[in-house]
Amino acid sequence: MFKNITVSHAPHISERLSTRMVMLDVIIALAPAMIAAGYYFRIHAAVLIATCVISAVATEWLCNVIRKKPNSIGDFSAVITGIILALSVPPILPVWAAIIGSVFAIAIGKMVFGGLGANIFNPAMVGRAFLTASFGMLMTTWTVPATIDPFMSVISAENKVDARTQATPLALSKEAVKTKQGADTVNSQLEAMFEGEVGGCLGETSALALLLGGAYLLIRRTITLHIPLAVITSASVFAAIMCLINKEAYISPLSHLFSGGLLIGAFFIATDPVTAPLSKKGMWIFGIGVGTITMLIRVFGEYPEGVMYSILLMNGVTPLIDRLCKPIPAGGKPNV
């Protein structure tokens, strides 16, 4: 009756969570954004998401085989990388570029560091940075949503853009900064930006869908409020100050929040636990860093959007933040 009893360290029970369940929660939270992408960009959304997910998972599998490591695709982290990469590229990005981005994201962004948990930078952002550096034109060509132009077409074989393109709110905002006028035009699009009926990356146009997903993550306690709140607050404060300086040149804080990748960055990318600090204090610093650097790039930089670079920069200093923000034990430091 007592054959094969096992011996191990306490505790002998667990909450029965698994990494896969945590990752599944994130995928569920990304569903509204994916649905919004499908609504606004139709077949492009389906093709891009499927391409990125399949190539990301395949790359992880291949890397495991090459490194003779146990298969790790079952934790679904590669699926998330694929989805986030797909949601953060322009809707009419060619399939081959999406494949290159996904392969780079997983192979160089994650697997060379040793796989899940060991990467310094968010893999999806590494992939996107690679695409931006390599195919700058493709990564900045925006199409209007299909709800405005049902015949939105694809890029033709000669890399010639054949679609009805539209400047994104952030491009207009950059223009406004340069010409010192026209911020109102952007501010007037606020409702469209909230719903997502504007030009932009596949999954970042609809603020509503992203907020729904973010709320789900918070309710499930998969993420804590610290990082999103820090990003949003610091960006809003920055925008408000700029707005006070010159209302004509700088768009309103709300317009900044609902445009570009700020919300997807705040809720889904900056909160990637692997690349964010562990302590609450560290999370505040990290989030404020992301929000402030994003706004610096948006307002003073050459690029219209800065979420990707700000997250990558803050990822880089995360180990330092963790070292600086080492929590003090509940009983204070021991007297040594």
């Binding site: 899940l116 509940a330 009983g331």
Partner: protein, 455 residues
């Protein structure tokens, strides 16, 4: 009194494992098995181990002292039965592997089962009849140790110490560990004995203020004690049901909102914490002159045929006790001395119970869960759940990974030694990493290293 008491007194961090106390919470304390043989460990407590004071083939009486030590931090051991010393040899020990024990063969005819002392106490108990010296001597001679788990000799805790005057006494009736109900049953059935013990402890420690802390998931115990104590200056404090609420440091935080310094002990801030079972043992030792030879043990787990709370002789083996409870009905995966959060998995059913064993929990594979059973660990995704759950505000994952990679200096730098080993971090980890296990290992390695190479 209302039964839906909710308390906000608590501490930061912690977890909420399923309680599973209903298996035994309604089962009254019953006499344990009539033992044929007991093995009394010479080290059942924190501190110096005892030397045997009897020899092989000596005849011993129930309650006779059979091992003692001259060390200040130690407690003597006594025989629970009339019988003969069979041998003094190495026996299975849950923590130490093998340890010296006195094996006593019980006299088959002359061994009436020991009755609990609870009937000898009434509400009119007066602690003033006993002098401080008398109480101190009875506690030391009775071999009393903390019965909640750590087993720190009670005499050391309560003895008057002019350097560290004590002001507050907290009686710990939290029993935050899942499955275990022995303290709960004692509070319901031995109420007057506990209160007598509390009064004696108050007298000997010289504390002005006395609290009895009970988690809000035990409304019946709260009601019983509040009823009896309504005219006393002993206060029943209801604390939140959260693991590890019964941890000494966490309890002090919850009841007094005071913090014991890292590496410090409660007397440094004038606090003494005693378990309810210890309080009951104090009453028995002082008033009846009975040493600590028996205790209530909860034998529990879904696999046990007759789970319950048994008044058992210390030194009874796990196997004997389990058999007495009707054996098991399903295939057991783990036999734990204590509860599932902090208990120690026994490899050998001949391991005897000690003064600190509050429960024997038998878990099946289903209750442990597949991941925990197979021990498959995946990579840390730094989700921070362990940081959130840690009641001592440490970073368990950093410490554990430092230990894993043999970086003891890093682990120490992240306050490895401040860990109270409650197991919350391992419990919540989605990657199923044995964080507590690594940290415990690191503590042992560090202690060895520092002894070898004094700074």
């Amino acid at each position: 009194m209302k039964t839906d008491i909710k308390s906000r007194f608590s501490f930061p961090g912690g977890t909420h494992p399923p309680q599973n106390k209903n298996l035994t919470s309604e089962s009254p304390i019953q006499p344990g098995s009539a033992v044929k043989q007991v093995a009394i460990m010479l080290s059942q407590h924190t501190g110096a181990a005892c030397r045997p004071t009897v020899k092989k083939a000596d005849t011993v009486q129930a309650g006779q002292k059979i091992g003692d030590s001259d060390s200040f931090v130690s407690a003597p051991v006594h025989s629970p039965v009339n019988g003969k010393v069979k041998e003094i040899s190495l026996q299975s020990h849950a923590v130490l592997g093998r340890s010296m024990a006195i094996v006593i063969e019980a006299d088959a005819e002359n061994n009436p089962p020991k009755e609990p002392a609870c009937d000898k106490f009434t509400s009119s108990f007066d602690a003033e009849k006993y002098s401080v010296e008398q109480i101190c001597a009875a506690i030391r001679d009775g071999g009393l140790v903390g019965m909640g788990g750590a087993g720190f000799p009670t005499s050391v805790k309560v003895e008057p110490n002019p350097k560290l005057p004590k002001e507050t006494l907290i009686i710990n009736g939290c029993e935050c560990e899942p499955y275990i109900t022995c303290d709960y049953r004692i509070m319901l059935e031995w109420t007057h004995q506990i209160i007598a013990g509390v009064k004696l402890a108050k007298k000997v420690t010289g504390c002005k203020k006395v609290f009895i802390a009970i988690e809000d998931n035990k409304p019946q115990a709260i009601e019983t004690l509040s009823q009896v104590l309504r005219n006393d200056d002993i206060e029943v404090v209801v604390v939140k049901t959260k693991y590890p609420q019964g941890g000494e440091r966490q309890l002090i935080k919850a009841v007094l909102n005071k913090t014991v310094r890292t590496g410090g002990i409660p007397p440094m801030i004038g606090v003494v914490v005693l378990n309810v079972a210890t309080a009951a043992a104090i009453a028995e030792a002082v008033v009846c002159g009975q040493p600590l030879t028996h205790r209530v043990v909860t034998v529990t787990g879904e696999a046990i045929a007759n789970p319950g709370n048994y008044y058992t002789a210390i030194g009874t083996t796990i196997g004997e006790l389990v058999e007495f409870c009707g054996g098991i009905t399903q295939k057991a995966a783990k036999v734990i001395l204590g509860g599932p959060m902090m208990g120690i998995a026994a490899a050998d059913l001949t391991t005897p119970i000690t003064k600190t064993t509050g429960a024997i929990t038998i878990l099946t594979k289903q209750q442990i869960g597949d991941a925990k059973f197979t021990g498959r660990q995946t990579a840390c995704i730094r989700c921070g759940r362990c940081v959130e759950a840690c009641p001592e505000n440490l970073v368990p994952t950093t410490i554990a990974h430092a230990v894993k990679n043999n970086l003891l200096d890093v682990a120490k730098n992240y306050y490895l030694t401040a860990c109270i080993e409650c197991g919350c971090c391992s419990y919540v980890c989605p990657a199923n990493i044995e964080l507590t296990g690594y940290i415990k290992t690191g503590k042992i390695l560090l202690a060895k290293q520092e002894k070898r190479m004094p700074a």
